[in-house]
Amino acid sequence: MPNILAARSQMAMSLAFHIIFSCIGIAMPLLMVVAEWLHRRTGDQVYLLLARRWATGTAIMFAVGAVSGTVLSFELGLLWPHFMKWSGAIIGMPFSLEGFAFFTEAIFLGIYLYGWDRVAPRAHLVAGFIVAFSGMISGVFVVIANSWMNTPVGFRLVNGLPVDIDPIASLTNPAALHETVHMTIAAYAATGFVVAGIHAAMWLRDRGNLFHQRAIAIAFAIGAIAAVLQPLSGDASARAVARLQPLKMAAFEGLFKGGPHAPLAIGGIPDVKDRKLDYAIELPSMLSIMTGHNPDAVIRGLDSFPERNWPAPMIAVHLAFQIMVGAGFAMAGLAMWGALLIVRRRTIFDSIWLLRTMVAAAPLGLIAVEAGWVVTEVGRQPWIIYGVMRTADALTPMPGLTVTFVLFSALYLFLGVTVVYLLWRQVILSPTRAEVPVQAAAL
């Protein structure tokens, strides 16, 4: 494998692995504090049992998130030293701030996980809130760094080097707002759906189990709210990309020929050689209407950019975009269904089909997150800093990166399998209907 390909694969694999744990690290603390807060408000011990059980799973996820994140912070330098040397002074800022957010998170997580009997109940709940908040903030800071790679600002280029550096301007780059909002919502949507799906599966085998019922109520509520907001935020993202990176937008849509009345493509396989999109359902003028609010709005196609700047592989960008949007609408649909049931019947637990669909929809959020990042990152290629530095120019001179790629892939595969196995055990060990009151009373 050529070094550049190995490096890109290693980066992609490490990030794809880490992001799962990040999403859970962002959203799971919120689920836990909501459960604990409900316990304090209602005195219902089942909520407390739930918070404690969730905390155990979260502890494992957190540890893996922390170590895989550490790998990433070194990997940026190990694989792309010229990128870091060039941009460290400009975007080091969000990373340093992220460092503080991690700190706060790790400190209060220690208090939350180990402090049930050590600190006052109120202090414990507050610690949980701090974890939830700082987890969200740490995600925001990394995504700001990433958005800068899409819309680099805060410097002037002189002879290929940055001068007049303005780190504050880099924090407020044009892509920062839509990316951070979209990613943060994504974390709650994805985690909410996974957790609700797992508990729904258990509930279906043990109907009326209050433990799972309370879990579903909290996780699905949070996931559903996020899932309804996500297409709105995604629409804002798409508009912003059309404005800031029109080439990337054309790649999302597989739009080889631009112009007015640009169609919106559903599905399809881009054929780069013959410059056409095969097997797609095209909604005429929809893309022009959506991005320009007018069927006559001119959308730039791939044909208006030199081919050496096209993202590759194009098919990955286009398909990933379709997958994300598809998952997004499916999730929003399920959320609305749940909302409808609540309005009509005040409960979702008499609709077995909703709960079954919930089980099936469990992985959708995480799939959308992974797909979304492929869209953003592969769509940025061949640039590591959009329009400024090519990915190939950032690469380390270290030979034999295939070895490290294989090494880390094997390591992460091993960790992934282990985590799934351990969580599976947690799920199996969750209390049955008869055990719930006994265990809850014992707390």
Binding site: A89, I107, P167
Partner: protein
């Protein structure tokens, strides 16, 4: 804020973060080493104590390393890039160690598995704890001995620069220091006199090993790292550091001997901190000898100023929170009755 002030502030923050990482995160590795070496009738109790001591704090301790990395690449990007290129192999290996150590530890604590699975995770955790500090020491040794070229674009050899006796001696030194710190801290983590004495003896043994390896490192540095050697021996202001260092080292050993554990902890931590500062001051102002120093590798003043401001503001939130964490977990519960099986409790306090 003038430029040199921001620069020195950032350098100071870098050194402080590294010091706290070594004093806390380093000791967590040391805990893993003692887990591996747990022996005697109380082996299970020793492991248990180590696990309880590490559990709540290791993730927070670990973030100090992240802070070191982010300060380095924000404030001194060329130095960061040079280290990451030349030290690719040992850093990669260290990362594998970090990943395995952290995940194995939490799998053991939270996996809730059967005894056998837990033992396997425990072994992985402790082996990773043994290897990782050696690699960290190797990397520091390579930086200190001037093995990193400034423009590594054309570097062809990624192994030889760090595969030197002096680098491995520093690696061993780091391991010994971490184990020593852990043993000293662990004496204060238990009320059980016998268990405490186990760690007291281990601390004394490790302390003596630290002294011996320090001698070896200096001997090798004299030959292979002339820059550091000169910095250590030919500067007026490193001498007091060295003397104080020696005094603290002996005081810590004496305090251990005399069972004055709280005093021993302060002296041992001070000793280890001064080892790091000795290195830093001997190398000053170089980040990477002989090409990159804190002036020519520094990010533009604006970046340094903002970073300094952010570090100061962050410290205002961070330090009280971190103290709170340590207070919650490292102080003994107030109302716990003295345990029946530790009669010595009363006068050893």
């Amino acid at each position: 804020m003038t430029i040199p002030f921001a620069l020195f502030f950032v350098c100071g923050a870098l050194l402080v973060a590294l010091t706290i990482y070594v004093l806390t995160g380093g000791a967590d590795y040391g805990g893993g080493v003692w887990d591996l070496l747990a022996a005697g009738p109380r082996a299970a109790a020793q492991r248990d104590l180590i696990e309880r001591a590490l559990g709540p704090v290791w993730e927070a301790d670990h973030v100090w390393l992240i802070l070191v990395v982010v300060i380095l690449f924000d404030a001194f990007p060329p130095a960061f890039a040079a280290i990451m290129i030349a030290m690719h192999v040992p850093i990669t290996l260290m990362l594998v160690g970090i990943v395995l150590r952290g995940s194995a530890f939490s799998f053991r604590s939270y996996g809730g598995g059967r005894d056998r699975a837990q033992r396997e995770w425990g072994r992985l955790f402790s082996i990773a704890s043994l290897v990782t500090p050696v690699l960290l020491g190797v990397i520091i040794g390579a930086i200190a001995s001037g093995s990193i070229p400034k423009d590594p674009r054309h570097i062809t050899d990624f192994l030889l620069p760090w595969m030197t006796p002096v680098c491995f001696a520093v690696g061993l030194f780091a391991l010994a220091l971490f184990a020593y710190l852990a043993a000293v801290y662990l004496t204060l983590e238990t009320d059980d006199a016998a268990l405490r004495d186990d760690f007291r003896l281990r601390a004394i043994a490790a302390g003596i090993a630290v002294g011996a390896i320090a001698g070896l490192v200096l001997l090798l540095a004299h030959r292979e790292a002339p820059g550091i050697w000169a910095g250590l021996t030919q500067r007026v202001w490193t001498w007091p550091l060295i003397w104080l260092n020696g005094i603290l080292a002996l005081a810590a050993l004496y305090a251990l001997w005399a069972r004055r554990f709280a005093v021993a902890r302060v002296c041992a931590a001070g000793h280890v901190a001064l080892v790091l500062w000795g290195w830093a001051f001997a190398q000053f102002p170089f980040l990477i000898e002989p090409d990159l120093d804190i002036y020519n590798a520094a990010a533009p003043p604006i970046t340094l100023k903002i970073l300094a401001g952010a570090l100061a503001a962050g410290a205002l939130i961070l330090l009280p929170s971190y103290r709170y964490l340590l207070k919650v977990f490292k102080s003994r519960p107030k109302h716990r009755p003295l345990s029946a099986d530790s009669p010595v409790e009363r006068h050893s306090q």
